[in-house]
Amino acid sequence: MTYTAPIDDMMFVIEDLCGLNSVSKLRGLEDATPDLVSAVLEESGKFAGQVLAPLNVVGDRVGLTFEDGKVHTPDGWAAAYHQLVEMGWNSPTSDPERGGMGLPTVVNACIQEMFNGANTAFQLCSVLTQGAIEAIEGYADEALKTVYLPKLVTGEWTGTMNLTEPQAGSDLAAIRSKAEPTGDHYLVSGQKIFITYGEHEMAENIIHLVLARLPDAPAGVKGISLFVVPKYLVNADGSLGQRNDVRCISIEHKLGIHASPTCALAFGDNGGATGYLVGEPNKGLQYMFAMMNNARLGVGLQAVGISELATQHAIKYAMERTQGRTTAGSEETIIGHPDIRRMLGLMKARTEAARVIAYRAATSLDFAQRSSNSEERARHQRRVDLLIPITKGWSTELGIENASLGVQIHGGMGYIEETGAAQHLRDVRITTIYEGTTGIQAIDLVGRKIQRDGGVAAMELVADMRTTARALSELSTNYADWVAICGAVMDAADKVEELTNWILAQRGSEPLAAAVTVLECFGICLGAWVMGDAAISASERIERGRCPMHAKTKLKTVQFYMNNVFPKAEALSSTVKKGAKSILDLSAADFCVDA
């Protein structure tokens, strides 16, 4: 299965639409100049295309085996992982003082999109390790950092996140795992499920981050603490000691990402697993939420990566497969048929729009963490908080639609596994579920991100959208239909404003009922905004003769987006306002067949 990293588009987005030049002026990111970033993306693109992509099909077909408590990854998996570690791709953003590379989050966003696009099931291991690093770096004491960070950063050890229990999925207040203090550590016991890469043999140690309750903890979300529980205990000299009291009891059989082990872990069957408290007692969930932005951005990028992969495969197939004849009578490849180009256009335009939204969220993360101006930090933090549920919720739902169109373009062959089109649909299907379902993202958007701040962040966004519209209204080149593009962006800004006001005006449960529809409408409107900015930059590039091929196609893609994707926003906005009440009117009894 081939994958070509879309480096031209990635560089276009981070240079022209995310302002890489300003990012590389932030404290600690001075090395990330465009020439260095371009070299980094070239090499990570090679690694994704030549090492990770060829293993994607193997992972899907062969999958995992589980025997005697051990998980065996497919042939080639461990070697590729060791190569990834050796090449330094495990944790590109980590602090150089801990052995990281200190690259900006937005550059890592490109790398994560590539590696996930090439092989999501494989890359999940590093995604989870990056999460564990962030938790330890952000909240653990120096002693824990010294022991665990260096090898997690290189990837010699991998990390996991243990949140879910059978009775505690979206509602983590229901967590029952326990931690009893003893001496300088804790004894952790309980059962965790859905633990990605919870057990494998690719690395010498696995560091589990586990949510559990202390004996005197208050009930509910305020009584959950975070612990580090290593698979092998670490001796004072850094060498590995005895096996800790944690074991994998089973792995799940899943719809997709077959080669990513999803483990059920039993802690403390033999008296308690040795664990160490991260930060303060009872603050575990708070720490988890602080890390949520990065984790959710990561899943959004996963979906963008798989969308890109599905699009590349569909384009390749559409250019080779002949069906029907042209008007001139010769054999026609299916890309000659308008409906195929409609589907490919939808895949391409929405993938590119979702890419910009995700990369802008990443850029704001860089500014929120590193800007020297406190007002600027706060503004970017508000932007991150607003964009994360949109990038997570919208990119992943789109990812499914795009991968499904990919199957459709392959026709009957797409339903057959050999073409590989079906794998993308199965793989991307999880992304709307883990790290918070689309429903959870939508509630987060309307509740925490709009109602709680009285719409401040959303209105700042509307103002930025109108700035783009104004810039578009001043363009007069004949490269594109600027009136139509500008009109769509103005309309998009109006819709976001209107829906924000609608949400703020509701007193009942209507915003909860309409939340997912609001989220989709916001996604499509923000897509119009970023595509408007893309059109401005593409037009400038054509003027300067810089990458004119990419820029010209970009302008056509923007017009396609405005005319074939954006009009749906009208229907969605109307659905929000009309639909909410009729959702609430349906009671549980109305769904009861026997009644």
């Binding site: 090395d31 100049t33 020439d35 260095l36 371009s38 070299a39 980094v40 070239e42 090499e43 990570s44 090679k46 690694f47 030549q50 090492v51 190569q83 050796e86 090449m87 330094g88 791709w89 590109p92 590379m101 990458c547 004119p548 091929m549």
Partner: protein, 252 residues
């Protein structure tokens, strides 16, 4: 021991080359360019000789347009110690001919005094296969072309060459020009830490004029054409018919 590795920035091997409408050459405007694959093999071999303790310094040299510095950075990220860029053209379409390249490299070798020049056997853009040989003649050094294995023993290099019908192993006296063939090694990926370090390594810039070399072309391109499109095939009814058709076409 110092090793010089000349590298050329060429059209990327994945790009489908298109001929310019006026037939003067391949269209390179806004086309992805990268390191000539044979040169990548040469860089890898030089780095391996350094890692094995045979060489002490690897210097990458490129001749061409200013953008070739990106290609040199790739060599530095793979592990070369420093780089020299000789700017000899403003337009990416200007191909510096092998004799001019060899003269420039001679001037660099006079300054740098390497024991080995490890070059690619040819560049994939014009397939000249001439620079290494010309450089050996200009310097009066030994040459070992089409190398598939290189060992350094004392003052000699033992080089296995890929020749028609098999392998030939020769011993050449150092200093020598060695040109890399496809099977010499498999080039490494540049690691992220090395890409970051490459940015800080020395990259000196000179011009052909600084080295006193005239790069005016001596050859003129008469025409450039894309290969003829493949004609439609034909399904034959039997083996006899196939043989008859092949005979008719003069193929058997």
């Amino acid at each position: 021991m110092k090793i010089i590795v000349p590298i050329k920035r060429v059209i990327d091997y994945n790009v489908k080359a298109k001929v310019k409408t006026d037939g003067s050459g391949v269209d390179l405007a806004n086309v992805k360019m990268s390191m000539n694959p044979f040169d990548e093999i040469a860089v890898e071999e030089a780095i391996r000789l350094k890692e094995a303790g045979v060489a002490t310094e690897v210097v990458a040299v490129s001749i061409g347009v200013k953008q070739a510095q990106e290609t040199l950075r790739t060599a530095l990220a793979m592990g070369a110690d420093r780089a020299i860029l000789v700017v000899a053209a403003d337009d990416v379409h200007t191909d510096i001919e092998p004799l001019a390249v060899a003269k420039i490299l001679k001037a660099i070798c006079d300054e740098e005094q390497p024991q080995i020049v490890m070059a690619g056997k040819q560049a994939i853009d014009n397939d000249m296969n001439a620079t290494g040989q010309m450089l050996a003649a200009l310097l009066g050094w030994s040459q070992a072309t089409f190398a598939s294995e290189v060992k350094v023993e004392g003052d000699n290099a033992i080089v296995t060459r890929e020749v028609d019908g098999g392998l030939q192993t020769i011993s050449v006296k150092l200093p020598s020009i060695i040109t890399a063939d496809l099977r010499l090694n498999e080039p490494r990926y540049a690691s992220l830490p090395n890409i970051m370090k490459a940015k800080k390594k020395t990259l000196d810039e000179k011009t052909a004029a600084d080295l006193g070399v005239d790069v005016t072309p001596r050859l003129s391109v008469v025409s450039t054409a894309e290969p003829a499109a493949r004609e439609a095939g034909e399904i034959v009814g039997s083996v006899d018919e196939l043989v008859a058709k092949l005979k008719q076409a003069g193929a058997v």
